[in-house]
Chain length 163, copies 2
């Protein structure tokens, strides 16, 4: 698997994955009917580092973004978002992107990484982040309306990147 910066020619593949994830509506607080234009504007926003994970047989199997979580006095903390194609799940693509993302964040000089919105039912993501040293530093009660489970908690996860 190769993880590399996304280019304009990856936009179709990224939109396919984004659309799947948004339509599922159980891991991100996104409009399930978001347009291709709005989705790509969000995922390729100015100041955002956008990556894709490419597998020989499959093509683009996942994508992730890195960007400062805040401006000014908060710009040393980076935020990230990850999406894996439904058909490519369970093959370690999320973990490979997560490890790549941590080393990119270090390389870019960020001091910490924060996930603002990890839905508590997304246990595989939570386990992965905990494996990689993240802690749940906050819980938002009933902050997400899950399409099948109703109101569920959301976690804020955080990891320092400095020794």
């Amino acid at each position: 698997m190769k993880i590399r910066h996304a280019t304009d020619t990856d936009r179709d593949a990224v939109w396919n994955i984004f659309h799947e994830v948004a339509a599922d509506g159980d891991t991100y607080a996104l409009d399930p009917n978001i347009s291709r234009e709005d989705a790509l504007a969000y995922w390729f926003a100015p100041g955002t580092h956008t990556f894709v994970a490419e597998q020989p047989a499959i093509g683009i199997a996942g994508t992730y973004i890195l960007r400062p979580n805040q401006l000014g006095g908060g710009s040393h903390v980076v935020n990230a978002g990850f999406m894996v194609s439904t058909s490519a799940r369970g093959r370690g693509i999320g973990r490979a992107m997560a490890e790549h993302c941590l080393s990119e964040a270090l390389r870019l000089g960020f001091r910490a990484m924060q996930f603002n919105y990890v839905i508590s039912t997304n246990t595989s993501a939570i386990r992965l982040w905990q494996d990689l040293g993240f802690e749940i530093v906050g819980t938002l009660p009933d902050a997400f309306c899950h399409p099948r489970k109703g109101y569920v908690d959301v976690h804020v996860m955080y990891r320092s990147l400095v020794p």
Copy 2:
């Protein structure tokens, strides 16, 4: 004091307050050199309810915004932001806007209110929110670089709006 929806004619006054708060750089993670255009685009963004607090002798003394904190399954939680003119502080304008904001949020049908980024040194804001029923539900270690105090913690605060 009158608290009302902001209109286009309030833009100069709102920018004056925004500029002061951003330049101080100790209560918001904003670019201290943010342009008027970017500031007003943020404060008057589509989907944002923008209010001003007007006092007879002073004019516009404060401003606040209300907007969904997330899209899709997270859109029942509202986020708010408050700014008071330096010269008008200590007169209860923040508290009056906070109370107004809670009743507006209820009126608009939101189920909870969340502050994503309450800097731990901003003790008067934290006290006000706790007085109004908010809890610190998370703490981000060293997430803000304070212009005089260096790296300080940031709190996530939350309050349910349903019985």
